[in-house]
């Protein structure tokens, strides 16, 4: 199945926006998508990865190293010739039930047994370096694997100290998790590690549903011409990301907005500093995507539900949804 053009995805604006923000500023720390099966979660993430411009990697490097950063790769032999090739932004789909070995990498059994050599066989983390790591049903993934993933996602480096191996390699990726809260929830400390979260619902508008069928049908009939028809739109998205990336360091955040952010976090009771940091980074990225030089309240209001809704302390006896609580606070504080 070829990838679906990112701009051809019907609706789901919040999810698309969160992914764009993550593409502009990877430090935002991953996107958690809540929603039912079959609502296009993985399609959107996959599509964005395929839309992004090709990256330059060292030929033969199993760690997706950039030519200028080859010295960080365990495969690097000093003095060896480095040949750069273009490659797609990696998109790795981590299946449920993946073992630690497959995720982190492990001793290369084949070489160890047949040749008596100790060599590292990279895992999915190495494959996802500089790309996207998508985990469907992250709420069903084993805790210890999730802990490992989050640790690596936060540090940008995979450190393997086992099987008599001692290896480190860079692993920077946008973590995209998805799950259905009906089937078991994530621990709060884990949720907090995600930068943004979005809630995906099935398109309820009949016209939207029809449009989805029509576009998927067209894609299935003739993927090439469908992709060509959407190439312009995808190109625009690409340009927007590139511009925003370039403009990001220059986006200013006025003192008053920073104060607003702190006030908001306090008002909704979002624990920890991560909420405020994500609010700041997210609204900056949003301003950059909008082509603005300064962060305004509009950006703050737009990003607040995405940045905070998964950080609110749950009150078991309170039925009010997190999103509603944030919207209410926004309304009260900033009108």
């Amino acid at each position: 199945m070829g990838s679906f053009p990112f701009s051809a995805i019907v609706g789901q604006n919040e999810m698309k926006q969160a992914l764009l923000i993550a593409a502009v500023d990877a430090r935002i720390g991953g996107v958690m998508i809540f929603g039912d099966r079959g609502t296009g979660k993985s399609t959107a993430a996959r599509a964005l990865a395929a839309t992004l411009p090709l990256i330059s990697v060292v030929e033969g490097c199993r760690f997706n190293s950039a030519p200028e950063a080859i010295a960080d790769s365990p495969d690097y032999v000093p003095g060896a010739k480095v040949k750069a090739v273009k490659a797609r932004v990696p998109f790795v789909d981590l299946p449920l039930g993946s073992t630690e070995d497959r995720v982190l990498g492990t001793l290369d059994l084949e070489r160890a047994l047949a040749h008596g050599e100790k060599q590292f066989e990279p895992g999915l983390l190495a494959k996802a370096h500089r790309g996207f790591l998508y985990i469907d049903e992250i709420n069903l993934l084993e805790d210890h694997v999730v802990d490992l993933l989050l640790d690596v996602a936060a540090s940008g480096e995979n450190l393997v100290e086992r099987d008599g191996l001692s290896i480190r390699h860079p692993a920077r990726f946008v973590l995209v998790g998805s799950g259905n809260p009906e089937e078991g929830e994530l621990r709060p400390q884990l949720l907090d590690r995600f930068g943004l979260s979005v809630e995906v619902r099935t398109p309820e508008d009949i016209a939207d549903r029809v449009e989805i069928m029509r576009r998927c049908d067209a894609n299935e009939q003739d993927g090439a011409s469908f992709a060509a028809a959407w190439a312009d739109e995808d190109g625009k998205v690409l340009k927007r990301i590139a511009k925003a990336k370039a403009a990001l360091p220059k986006v200013e955040t006025p003192e008053s907005i920073l104060e607003d952010m702190a006030t908001l976090c306090k008002a909704v009771g979002a624990d920890g500093l991560r909420g405020e940091l994500t609010l700041m980074r997210g609204s900056r990225a949003l301003a950059a995507l909008d082509g603005k030089k300064t962060v305004t309240r509009k950006h703050l209001k737009e990003i607040a539900p995405l940045a905070l809704r998964h950080r609110l302390r749950r009150n078991v006896l309170d039925e009010t949804g997190s999103t509603t609580r944030i919207e209410r606070a926004l309304e009260e504080l900033f009108g």
Binding site: L96, D163, R201, R214, E319
Partner: protein, 562 residues
């Protein structure tokens, strides 16, 4: 419709689905055939033959291990030859074809995830053979979702394997027109189907049905068939039915809403949609409607409970050292220990080896050591709540509060909670083991009170849940909130003496499991009945004249740490 005619309809639908699938496996993802028997064997044989003409067919046993599924190093062959011998995985060898999964309801979550991933890559379709007996058993939701067709073939008596007259290629069928697309979209919304995949499958099925009958443009009959085959089995609500109260968040795009959105178009569509809804309603199996009150069927049990199951301790957890054994089924080779085991024999083996054997290290299969791990099992607290009239309704509210508080703690500790209510004539599992706050809150809110006290039924329900949890490797704890005064027998008759007798027996049955039990007496003044029940259960007795949630939680917590 007469019974015979109804059966004919089932036969033709199952056959139809199989024909559509076998002609375009990758388009439809797969087909679920539920119900064992010779008819199904015939259907599978037919599909195998049809598919074998253009692609491989591989069978995946439900106990397959990841290595075999994905391929990798063939350890025994590698050791024997001294060269690395690779073996292709089952999924690779089925690329472009179909995998057949027998006993699909028993497939482990990780195997299901790998198959689903291969299907998303578009190179594999699946035939799931579902042998479930219980209505709440089903193949993993992650697979079910990706199958276009579900067929219950248990009622079928024959499978002819006949084909339609003059099929044409699918590519020659025109895309559906506007009106038809709207009809499909509106029907899926009316049936409460959220998944976009279902829409796409319906669209494809309509065109494939047209192709099967040699039509270049789909007609109403094709759409109706597609709706019957794809949408009906996925329905979570009857069309035009009141939304079921426990599922307020379920997507139920109101029909009115659709009307408002495109009022003018609705008028001309109304006929086709009505036909489709009728077609769907006729094909919705009865038991699906039974389940509407509970969780959405396929989403519900499948994954949720599977996730609670723990893998064998050979796979993960705290390391416990190594034992002789061959790595497979997720057991990991402990290389250092294997080499250590082989080391003393190296000189002898080298002398015995052939002259051309240039291996540096001589390892035999008997040297291999695999790792062992210890894993803390997950805990499950089963609340059996007496919701009878005698435990007055105010205390029911307190019991509800206690369960919610336990759940909030379980949420942090990753343990599970289940809820059973017994009242009037029997016991009911309100909440199968879950960690989900959302579902728990809903189940609790919907718990009514009043009626007699079928204590024995409640105990037996708790026992069944506890046994299932033990089989899944969990550690269950049972908390019974009652006044201990059973007055309804298992058969539902109001006979206090029989009821108490049965309750004592049921309690002994629970005690035989050797679990931690606690009886929380929620009668206004502590009576001896509840204490006797606790004694029969071999558990703790906690008189709680005014059940206070926090105290109750503390008491149950102390059980877990024992």
């Amino acid at each position: 419709m007469s019974e015979a005619a109804a059966l004919d309809a089932v036969v033709s639908d199952a056959e139809l689905a199989l024909h559509l699938f076998a002609r375009n496996p990758s388009l439809f993802g797969g087909i679920v055939l539920r119900g064992d028997g010779p008819v199904r064997d015939g259907m599978v044989a037919f599909a195998k033959d049809a598919i074998a003409k253009f692609g491989p067919v591989a069978k995946i046993p439900s106990n397959v291990d990841t290595e075999r599924l994905l391929g990798g190093l063939d350890l025994t062959a590698t050791l024997a030859s001294g060269q690395s011998v690779l073996r292709a995985g089952l999924l690779d060898s089925a690329a472009g074809g179909v995998v057949i999964v027998p006993m699909a309801e028993r497939v482990q979550a990780n195997v299901a995830a790998h198959i689903a991933q291969a299907m998303d890559g578009g190179d594999v379709a699946a035939i799931l053979l579902d042998d479930s007996q219980e209505p709440d058993e089903a193949p993993p939701a992650v697979l079910n979702e990706r199958m276009a067709f579900y067929c219950d073939v248990s009622a079928l008596r024959s499978f002819a394997g006949v084909k339609a007259s003059k099929p044409i290629a699918l590519a020659d069928v025109q895309p559906l027109d506007e009106e038809q697309l709207y009809a499909i979209a509106a029907t899926s919304a009316a049936l409460g189907i959220g998944s976009v995949r279902a829409l796409l499958f319906t669209n494809s099925a309509a065109r494939a049905h047209a192709a099967l009958h040699g039509r270049t443009q789909a007609i109403d009959e094709d759409i109706a068939a597609a709706v019957r085959l794809v949408l009906s089995p996925r329905a979570t609500q009857m069309p035009q039915m009141e939304p079921p109260p426990p599922e307020p968040e379920d997507e139920q795009p109101e029909d009115d809403e659709a009307d408002n959105n495109d009022e003018d178009r609705q008028i001309e569509d109304i006929d086709l949609e009505d036909i489709l809804l009728d077609a769907a309603a006729a094909a919705i199996p009865k038991h699906i409607l039974d389940q509407i009150d509970g969780a959405t069927k396929r989403g519900g049990k499948g994954q949720g409970s599977k996730s609670g199951q723990k893998q064998k301790s050979a796979m993960r957890g705290r390391p416990l050292g190594s034992r002789p054994g061959v790595p497979s089924n997720g057991k990991r080779l402990s290389l250092i220990d294997s080499l250590r085991a082989a080391a003393p024999w190296q000189n002898i083996r080298r002398q015995l080896a052939r002259a051309d054997d240039m291996r540096i290290i001589h390892i035999r299969k008997s040297d291999l050591r695999v790792r062992h791990y210890e894993q803390r099992t997950e805990s499950l607290t089963i609340f059996a709540v007496d919701a009878s009239g005698s435990s007055a309704l105010s205390r029911l509210a307190e019991a509800k509060g206690a369960v919610e508080m336990m759940l909030a703690q379980a949420y942090v500790k990753r343990s599970q909670v289940a809820l059973i209510a017994f009242r009037q004539s029997g016991a009911e599992i309100l909440l199968p083991p879950t960690r989900s706050l959302t579902r728990a809150r809903r189940a609790l809110a919907a718990l009514p009170g009043g009626g007699g006290t079928p204590l024995a039924a409640g105990l037996m329900a708790a026992q069944q849940l506890a046994e299932a949890a033990q089989r899944a490797g969990q550690t269950p704890t049972i908390a019974i909130l009652t006044d201990g005064k059973g007055n309804v027998a298992i058969d539902g008759s109001a006979n206090r003496a029989v009821a108490m007798e049965e309750a004592t027996q049921a309690a002994r049955g629970v005690a035989a499991l050797g679990l931690n039990c606690i009886v929380i007496d929620i009668s206004p003044r502590p009576r001896e009945e509840a204490a006797e029940l606790a004694a029969a259960l071999n558990g703790r007795y906690l008189p709680l004249p005014q059940a206070q949630s926090a105290a109750m939680v503390a008491a149950i917590e102390s059980l877990h740490t024992q």
